[in-house]
C-alpha cells in the first residue's frame, strides 16, 4: 500500500526567500512521485514528476525536487519565492502498472508568500 505524508500543513515565506515543502512517502514498489499545485478556484497543475530516472527533478516555475530513497522523501524546493507561488501544494504517489494507477494524495501544504 502507498501513502504520503506532507509534514507541514502551512508554510509562510517572504518573497525572494527559499521555499521548502516536505514530503515523505511509503510504497511497496518503485513509486512514481509528483508534486501538483492548486491555485484558488483553479484546477490541478503538475509541477514535476519523478519516474525512476534522475533523482533530482526540475519542474516548472523554478521548482525542483529530489528523490531520496534512503530517506523515503521527495521534498519540493525553490530558491526564491514569488508572490504568484502562493497556493496549495500536493505531494502525490502512484505505483503499479502505467495506465492503471490511482494516485494517493498527501494532505496538502498551503504556501503563503509575504511581501
Amino acid at each position: 500500500a502507498q501513502s504520503v505524508t506532507q509534514l507541514d500543513s502551512h508554510v509562510s515565506v517572504s518573497e525572494g526567500t527559499p521555499v521548502l515543502l516536505r514530503c515523505n512517502y511509503s510504497s511497496s514498489y518503485s513509486p512514481s512521485l509528483f508534486w501538483y499545485v492548486q491555485h484558488p478556484n483553479k484546477g490541478l497543475q503538475l509541477l514535476l514528476k519523478y519516474t525512476s530516472a534522475a533523482t533530482l527533478v526540475k519542474g516548472i516555475n523554478g521548482f525542483e525536487a529530489e528523490f531520496k530513497k534512503s530517506e523515503t522523501s521527495f521534498h519540493l524546493t525553490k530558491p526564491s519565492a514569488h508572490m504568484s507561488d502562493a497556493a496549495e501544494y500536493f505531494c502525490v504517489v502512484s505505483e503499479g502498472l502505467a495506465g492503471r494507477r490511482a494516485l494517493t494524495f498527501g494532505s496538502g501544504t498551503r504556501l503563503q508568500v509575504q511581501p
Partner: protein
C-alpha cells in the same frame, strides 16, 4: 497529453436529488478515476472505472451512493445520489497518460453545493 472535459463545472442542488457528472477524454484510456475534494481538504479517490466492468470503489464509498458508468474508452459519468450537504465538494475526473507518459491529467472539476 490528455485533455479532459468535465461538466458541469459547478452546480447548486437541493438535498435529496441526484447529479450526474460527465467526463470526456480526447483519447482512449484504460482506466478513469474519480476523486472528491471536500472543502479545505486533499483529494480522495472515490472509484476506478474500467470500460466494460463494474467500477471498483474505495473504502467509504459505495455504488448506491456514487454509481459510475464507463460505456467506452473515452467517457465516464459519476452520479452523486440522494445528496446531502455533506456531499458538497469538488469532484474530479482523472486519467493517466500512456505507457511512456506516467503523468495524470485532471478535469477542471465539478464544484457541487448541496443546499
Amino acid at each position: 497529453s490528455a485533455v479532459i472535459s468535465q461538466k458541469p463545472s459547478r452546480d447548486i442542488c437541493q438535498r435529496g436529488t441526484s447529479l450526474t457528472i460527465q467526463c470526456q477524454v480526447d483519447s482512449q484510456v484504460t482506466m478513469m478515476f474519480w476523486y472528491r475534494q471536500q472543502p479545505g481538504q486533499s483529494l480522495t479517490l472515490i472509484a476506478t472505472a474500467n470500460q466494460g466492468s463494474e467500477a471498483t470503489y474505495e473504502s467509504g464509498f459505495v455504488i448506491d451512493k456514487f454509481p459510475i458508468s464507463r460505456p467506452n474508452l473515452t467517457f465516464s459519468t459519476l452520479t452523486v445520489s440522494n445528496m446531502s450537504p455533506e456531499d458538497s465538494s469538488i469532484y474530479l475526473c482523472s486519467v493517466e497518460g500512456n505507457i511512456k507518459n506516467t503523468e495524470a491529467f485532471f478535469g477542471q472539476g465539478t464544484r457541487l453545493t448541496v443546499v
